[in-house]
C-alpha cells in the first residue's frame, strides 16, 4: 500500500504549508465566504464600465451597421476577426490544463484547473461576439443553424469552414461548460454544507444539484471526468484547427498554407497560458492562495510558454521559407513586401509579433526568470500583445494589398467603436471572472484533497517514514 504511493522526494510539494483536509476547505472557501475586498469592488466596477462602453459600441454597430467600423473593400476582416481568433486561442489553455494534463496525470493541474476552465468559458463567450456582430444584421444570426425553414428549406453550406466554425465554437463552449460545472458540483456541495446564511444555503443548495459524495456517485464522476477529458482533448485541437481553416482553405496569399492548423493550435496554447499566468498571479495574491498556486506552478507554466513560443517561432520561419521556396510570386510578395519589409505600412506589426512571441519568451530558459513573479507577469502581458498582433498580421497584411495595385486599400486604422467593442469584451471577461472568483471556489477543493497526501508538504515527510518502514518490513519478510 505504502509502496504504491511512491512520489519522488526530489519533486517539490504542490501544496505548501501545514495542511490537512479541513484546512484546505477553510483556505479555499474563505474568499467566497468573506465580504469582497475594496480591491475586488474597484476591479469589478472598472470591468462593468468597460462592459458598458462595449455595449454602446456594439449598439451603434447594430443600429448603424458595420459602416461604424473602418473595414474597407480589401480589408473585410479587421479588428473583429483578429479579436475573435485571439479570444478563442486564449480559451485553449484552460482545456489543455483540465483535459490533456488530466490524461497525462499531471498532479500540478489541480491547483490551477478550475480558474483556467472558467477563463476558457469566458474567453469563448467573448470570442463568439465578434463573428456574430460582424454579420451586420445580427437579428438573423440564427440563419447559421440548419433548422427547417420556410425558404425551401434552404440549408446552410456544410462544406464551408465558416459553418464548421459555428459547430466547433458552439460545441467547444457547451462541452467546456459541462466539464467545468460537473467538476464544480462537489465543491458547491462543500460550500452548501458549510453555509450559515439562509441565502447561501439556498443558492449553493440549488447550484450543487443535491450532491452527497456517495461512493457510487464519485465512481461515476471519475468516469465522466475521464471521458470528458478524452473528448475535450481532440476537441480543443479541432477547434483551433477549424479556426485556422477559415484562412487556410482560402486562396489568399499569406493564408493559403497547410502549416496553419498545428501553428494555430500551438499559438493558442501559448497565448492561453500567458492569460492564465496574468489571471492567476493576481488571483493568488488577492485571495492569498500562494500555498496552492505555488512558484512551482508558475515555473511549469513558464516552461509551457517557452516551448509553445518556440514552436510558434519555428512555424513563422517555416511559412516564411515556404513562401520563398514555393516560387509563387504573390505568396512571396505578401511575405517579403507586406510583412518582413519594415518600411512597408504594416512591417512594424510583423516585427512586433516576432519580438513578443519568439524572441522575448526565450528569457524563460533561465530558471531564475521562470520563478520571478514580476518577470512572469510582465512576460504574460507581452505574449498576449504579441499573439494579438500575430492574428492582426495574418489578417490585415494579407488583405490590404490584393492582386490589383489599383484596388489596394488606404492604411487601415480602427474607429473608436471597433476599439470599444474589443474593450467591451475585456469588460465582459473580467466581470465574469470577478463574479466567479467571488461566488465559486477558484481552486478545485476535492481535487486538491485527492492529491494532498501524495503531494502536500505536510504529508510528504510522513510518507517518507511510512515508505521506509514499508521497505524494511518487506526486506524482513523476504530474508527470513
Amino acid at each position: 500500500m505504502a509502496l504504491l504511493k511512491y512520489e519522488s522526494q526530489v519533486r517539490p510539494p504542490l501544496v505548501e504549508g501545514n495542511k490537512d483536509y479541513h484546512q484546505v476547505t477553510e483556505d479555499i472557501c474563505r474568499p467566497v465566504e468573506a465580504k469582497p475586498s475594496g480591491l475586488w469592488w474597484i476591479g469589478f466596477l472598472i470591468s462593468l464600465a468597460l462592459l458598458g462602453f462595449g455595449v454602446i459600441s456594439v449598439g451603434r454597430e447594430v443600429w448603424f451597421g458595420t459602416g461604424q467600423w473602418n473595414l474597407n473593400k480589401t480589408i473585410g476582416w479587421g479588428w473583429d476577426i483578429t479579436n475573435f481568433v485571439w479570444w478563442v486561442g486564449i480559451g485553449h489553455a484552460g482545456t489543455l490544463i483540465s483535459a490533456i494534463l488530466l490524461l497525462f496525470r499531471q498532479g500540478w493541474r489541480t491547483g490551477v484547473n478550475r480558474a483556467a476552465e472558467a477563463m476558457t468559458i469566458f474567453a469563448v463567450m467573448c470570442a463568439g461576439q465578434f463573428p456574430i456582430f460582424h454579420m451586420g444584421r445580427v437579428w438573423n444570426a440564427f440563419f447559421t443553424l440548419p433548422y427547417p425553414n420556410t425558404r425551401g428549406p434552404l440549408w446552410v453550406n456544410f462544406n464551408s469552414p465558416l459553418l464548421w466554425d459555428v459547430f466547433a465554437i458552439s460545441t467547444y463552449f457547451t462541452v467546456s461548460l459541462l466539464f467545468w460545472y460537473s467538476g464544480l458540483l462537489p465543491d458547491l456541495a462543500t460550500l452548501r454544507d458549510r453555509a450559515k446564511l439562509k441565502w447561501r444555503k439556498h443558492f449553493y443548495g440549488v447550484a450543487a444539484f443535491g450532491w452527497t459524495g456517495s461512493t457510487k456517485h464519485w465512481q461515476r464522476h471519475e468516469s465522466l471526468s475521464l471521458v470528458l477529458a478524452g473528448l475535450s482533448t481532440p476537441l480543443v485541437l479541432s477547434v483551433h484547427t477549424i479556426v485556422s481553416f477559415d484562412f487556410a482553405t482560402s486562396v489568399i496569399p499569406g493564408w493559403h498554407t497547410t502549416i496553419f492548423p498545428p501553428y494555430f493550435v500551438a499559438g493558442a496554447i501559448f497565448s492561453g497560458f500567458a492569460m492564465v499566468q496574468t489571471l492567476l498571479l493576481v488571483t493568488r495574491k488577492v485571495l492569498s492562495l500562494e500555498e496552492y498556486i505555488t512558484l512551482e506552478h508558475i515555473e511549469v507554466m513558464n516552461k509551457v510558454i517557452v516551448l509553445t513560443g518556440s514552436i510558434v517561432g519555428i512555424a513563422y520561419l517555416t511559412e516564411l521559407f515556404m513562401a520563398w521556396y514555393s516560387n509563387v510570386k504573390y505568396e512571396w510578395f505578401a511575405f517579403e513586401q507586406n510583412r518582413v519589409n519594415l518600411a512597408s505600412p504594416y512591417g512594424w506589426s510583423y516585427w512586433l509579433m516576432m519580438g513578443c512571441n519568439v524572441i522575448s519568451p526565450q528569457i524563460f530558459w533561465f530558471r531564475k526568470m521562470r520563478r520571478n513573479i514580476l518577470v512572469t507577469f510582465f512576460m504574460s502581458i507581452i505574449v498576449n500583445i504579441g499573439m494579438w498582433f500575430e492574428r492582426f498580421v495574418i489578417i490585415v497584411t494579407s488583405l490590404y494589398r490584393d492582386y490589383l495595385p489599383s484596388s489596394w486599400s488606404p492604411y487601415y486604422t480602427p474607429t473608436i467603436w471597433e476599439v470599444g467593442f474589443y474593450m467591451g469584451t475585456f469588460g465582459l471577461f473580467f466581470t465574469c471572472y470577478f463574479l466567479f472568483s467571488k461566488f465559486f471556489p477558484v481552486i478545485a477543493i476535492a481535487e486538491i484533497k485527492h492529491i494532498l497526501k501524495k503531494n502536500g508538504e505536510n504529508y510528504k515527510e510522513k510518507m517518507d517514514v511510512v515508505e521506509r518502514e514499508g521497505v524494511e518490513e518487506f526486506a524482513h519478510r523476504h530474508t527470513h
Partner: protein
C-alpha cells in the same frame, strides 16, 4: 422512497477506513453507502461496487452524433438540395468530417452528463437527506442499514471497534425530493420501515 434507520460512523483517515470496510463486509453488515469529500481510488472495489458503464453510454451517444451528422448532411447535399459547386461531387465526405467530429463530441458530452445527472439524481432544486455535513469537508461517513433482524447496539459497538468515531443511529429518507436547503422539510409521514 421510505425513511430507514441507519447506524452512522465517521472516519478521518483512509488507512482506517479501508480495513474497516473490509471487516464490516466480512462480518455481514450491509453498507448503505460511504460518503467522502473527494474520490478515493479503490473505495468502490473495496465496497464491492460494480464498475460503472457510463463510458459505454458515452460511446453510444458519440456514435449517434456521428451518424446524425453524416446522414443529415448526406440527405441535404445529395437528395434534398444538391448544389453544383464547381462541378465537385455532391457526396463530398472529406468536407463533412469537421462537423461529423463536432457532433460526435457534442452528443457524447451532453448525453453523458445528462445520464450522469439522471443516475445520481442530480438536478437544481433536488434535495436529499445527508448523514453528516462534514462529509463534504474532511470526514468519511459510513452508513450501515438496519433491518428487522439487526441488533442496533451490536452494530454501534462493532463500528466503534473498527475505528469509527461519533457513531450514531439516524433515521433518514433515502430518496430525493424537490426542495430548498435553507428550509427544514418533512415530506413524508411514513412509518419507519424498521422497528427500532
Amino acid at each position: 422512497m421510505p425513511i430507514k434507520k441507519f447506524v452512522v460512523g465517521n472516519f478521518y483517515d483512509e488507512q482506517v477506513l479501508f480495513p474497516a470496510i473490509k471487516n464490516v463486509r466480512k462480518t455481514g453488515y450491509k453498507i448503505h453507502d460511504v460518503y467522502t469529500p473527494f474520490p478515493i481510488h479503490g473505495l468502490d472495489t473495496a465496497m464491492g461496487l460494480r464498475d460503472t458503464s457510463l463510458h459505454t453510454a458515452g460511446f453510444i451517444y458519440g456514435i449517434t452524433g456521428t451518424a446524425t451528422a453524416f446522414s443529415f448532411i448526406t440527405w441535404v447535399f445529395t437528395s434534398d438540395w444538391p448544389m453544383n459547386i464547381g462541378g465537385k461531387p455532391f457526396f463530398s465526405l472529406p468536407a463533412w468530417i469537421p462537423i461529423m467530429f463536432e457532433l460526435t463530441v457534442l452528443f457524447a458530452a451532453v448525453g453523458m452528463v445528462l445520464t450522469f445527472c439522471y443516475l445520481c439524481q442530480l438536478a437544481p432544486f433536488v434535495k436529499k437527506d445527508h448523514f453528516n455535513l462534514r462529509s463534504t469537508d474532511d470526514t468519511f461517513t459510513m452508513a450501515i442499514e438496519l433491518n428487522e433482524r439487526s441488533n442496533e447496539q451490536e452494530i454501534v459497538s462493532y463500528l466503534q471497534s473498527v475505528g469509527a468515531q461519533d457513531v450514531s443511529v439516524q433515521l433518514k429518507e433515502t430518496g430525493w425530493w424537490l426542495g430548498r436547503y435553507d428550509k427544514e422539510q418533512k415530506l413524508y409521514n411514513h412509518q419507519v420501515e424498521v422497528a427500532g
